[in-house]
């Protein structure tokens, strides 16, 4: 009888934790390490930033769309894999609630 109770308790515990497990997601990173960038960023389009970029590109009259060329080089992972840990995705019905997409460039 005692053995059955323990078995049932164990089974109930598994069921209980599995419910949480179905919504499980990785812990958010506490720090960013080399080669890891936080995605979900939007560039600043403020005036100062625009002017600075204009100055930077007036010399050769060329403006690069390549993020790797004039911004966060590590995000592009040149020479090594770069992992991008993103923020919470939009609630558009495509993503599992609570999940966090990940991207890696090689």
């Amino acid at each position: 009888m005692m053995y059955r109770k323990i078995l049932l308790a164990a089974y109930a515990s598994i069921g209980f934790f599995a419910a949480f497990g179905s919504q499980a997601m990785p812990f958010p990173p506490l720090t960013t390490s080399a080669g890891t960038v936080l995605a979900g960023y939007q560039e600043s389009d403020d005036d100062d930033h625009q002017k600075e970029l204009q100055r930077r590109h007036d010399d050769d009259d060329h403006y690069a769309a390549d993020d790797c060329e004039d911004e966060d080089v590590e995000a592009c992972g040149r020479g090594s894999a770069a992992q991008q840990l993103n923020a919470t995705p939009p609630n558009n019905g495509l993503f599992t609630p609570g999940s966090r997409p990940q991207a890696q460039t090689n």
């Binding site: 979900g40 995000a75 495509l94 993503f95 599992t96 990940q102 991207a103 460039t105």
Partner: protein, 158 residues
Amino acid sequence: MRMKSFLAMLAVTTALTVPGLAMAREVTLTTSMRNYGGDGAYLAYYVTDAQNKYVGSLWMAGGKTRYYEHLSGWYRATGGDTTQINGITGASVGAGRSLKVTVDLADTLFDAGYQLHIDSAVEDMRDSPNEIVVPLTSAGSGQKVKGTRYIAAFTYAR
């Protein structure tokens, strides 16, 4: 009596848990770029339904909003609304490189007429809307699809 109610509760818990585990699955989208000889490519990943109506975005590779209009399929569908890609935006993808995006998607997206689109664009080169259009099906998982301009190959695997 107590045992019976306990078993009933257990049955309910299990019944609620199992469908939850089966409803979502991790899907990996792998995109390999050609050596097209240009700057990093902007890529917009989005889903349309069986009526070709925009449902939502899965990923945006490229962070400068002023270039989004060159991803014309996505831009037309969203009006350039950046809230559609909040939290799912990363860096552009260089020529010859590959991007692997892993997302947890609802199982209901598969075998239900949904299509995954990828628009691509590279500065000073021709835009390539709908470079990849692939139906989301169980059978299509792991199948390589060739792009028409900048994308060498694309696969999704679940």
